[in-house]
Amino acid sequence: MPKNKFEFEATYKLLESKLDELKDLSVKLDCDFSNEIASVERRINQLKEERYKHLTPWEQVLLARDLERPMTRDYIKLLFTEFIELHGDRLYGDDPAIVGGVGLFCGRAVTVLGHQKGKDTPDNIIHNFGMPHPEGYRKAHRLLLEAEKFNRPVLTFINTPGAYPGTQAEERGQAWAISQLLLCLSKLKVPVISVITGEGGSGGALALTVADRILMLSNAVYSVASPETCASILFRDIKRADEMAAALKMNASALKEIGIVDEVIEEPALEPLQDSPVFIKSLKHSIKKHLDSICSQNIPELLEQRYLRLRQIGKFHE
């Protein structure tokens, strides 16, 4: 089981470096291999695309956690024409692991909330690796009530390993902060759309994912616990995490199938997401489509559907 996504990418890295050598050589020897180079390039990309279409569940987990993927602040820049960040829970602190504010999406005022991981280790320390303290959830709670006051739809972007598992977080009521947010969202009188962009980890992700529509990027994951935690609890053996990644059925297509996710947004295989205009356009288009649809519903009807959506989840026999 690979430890990071670069292990399963090693073959292409190797091929690509060989190709670079060939290019250098062609320049140095002053002979034209451009047709051959282009052909090899195409072949590598084909292989790569094929490989990305058949990632193992564990590779999907690694890809979903990749710090090079866009984070909430990137999506805000990519999708919004205006954004003003708002801070603080008005109770205890401001949590950098959750970003919140107001902005304009396709000309419509919305409240935005999302987990924020860092781009590298120092940045990740500032953002606590995207793991919120109770203050983060309470900031979200406050901004949700403001969204309700101003009748503004809400967009949430999900990307967190989970709520922070520390003593201070427990002391200040991590469980209380999460449950109050679940309750708040379940009856918030404005439309809510969630987009799972990377790692949807446990209750810490769920707290911002009670919504009228849930979209999910094709390489994102969403699970009850990380495969590592699951392996450690069930087998006391963290090395079986890749098995658990498969058993937990945590990828986008599996979650679409059981009705937890409404739409999967296909990611390009060969480009970074932030550099793909096709991807950005398709994400923007999907959000807009769902937003237009739920904004046209009356609120009591929307809330009834939001309740039923949750109410019917579960498999059992009588």
């Binding site: 209750g203 979650l255 109410r311 579960g314």
Partner: protein, 286 residues
């Protein structure tokens, strides 16, 4: 001291269950008292009527014992007893675990729900059982809680639940996690109906249960010395190497940190519930 108006009855045979009574701090048949950390053997524990001989802490008990201990004699009527779990993810080994849990506990799942009178007040009553896969919340636990809350709304009755859980049930994946949102939304409807909701947190209540319906009650009571939290103390210690403060995540600590209303010993639980029900019905005894 309050005297329960009933005698323990062998409603179902618990002898098999007793033997396998799981303890979250057990090592080879010995038990650590969750309140004072004293170690005692299975024999000592039985001899002491499930009380810790050092600090009088009352050990983890069963859902049926919970129900008998607070409800009026013969008043409990069970609901949804036949609801049982599938293996929706085809998770390896889940069916075996379920079968073993059912056999050992003579329960169909980790929760019993129904209706009961408490001191003459009609209520909807639920109790979780830690012996059934650590009281973890899967589809059935979530569904039974929601159905019970909806029946409370339909009949305008107070809702009371004894919580006790290791968290979400891993083997049901996202279906399990979603029970947190589902039960929290049902609490929202209880609130809209203006109904009293009391949760009683017992040892241990952690993970997804604490972070959903358990912490959303109007009045949150805890048994003395119970472990209550989101992340379990071992995970905190392991993942972060953080030293845990004394009494961390115990009922008394949570009371001090503003998370619960009352710490109440088990034997005085019934009398407290009756007083609360009485006040909430405006002093008009049912």
């Amino acid at each position: 001291m309050f005297n329960p108006p009933y005698k323990k009855k062998n409603y179902i045979d618990l002898s098999g269950a007793k033997k396998n009574h799981p303890s979250f701090d057990s090592r080879e048949g010995n038990f650590s008292c969750p309140s004072c950390s004293a170690w005692l053997s299975e024999a000592q524990k039985i001899q002491n009527n499930d009380f810790c001989p050092r600090c009088s802490y009352y050990f983890t008990t069963t859902a049926w014992e919970r129900i008998y201990s607070i409800s009026d004699e013969n008043s409990f009527e069970e609901w949804d007893a036949n609801l049982s779990t599938l293996n929706p993810l085809e998770f390896p080994g889940y069916e075996d675990k379920l079968a073993k849990a059912k056999e050992e506990t003579v329960l169909s799942e980790a929760i019993i729900t129904g209706t009961a009178s408490i001191g003459g007040f009609k209520t909807v009553l639920a109790a979780m059982d830690a012996r059934f896969m650590m009281g973890s919340m899967g589809s059935v636990v979530g569904e039974k809680i929601c159905r019970a809350m909806e029946k409370a709304i339909f009949n305008s009755l107070p809702f009371i639940i004894f919580c006790c859980s290791g968290g979400a049930r891993m083997q049901e994946g996202m279906l399990s996690l979603m029970q947190m949102a589902k039960t929290s939304a049902a609490v929202g409807r209880l609130n809209d109906a203006g109904l009293l909701y009391i949760s009683i947190l017992t040892h241990p209540t952690t993970g997804g249960v604490t972070a959903s319906f358990a912490s959303l009650a109007d009045i949150i009571i805890a048994e003395p010395g119970a472990l209550i939290g989101f992340t379990g103390p071992r995970v905190i210690q392991q993942t972060l190497g953080e030293k845990l403060p004394p009494g961390f995540q115990r009922s008394e600590y949570l009371l001090q940190h503003g998370m619960i209303d009352i710490v109440q010993p088990r034997l005085e639980m019934r009398s407290l519930l009756i007083r609360l029900l009485n006040v909430h019905q405006g002093g008009n005894h049912a």
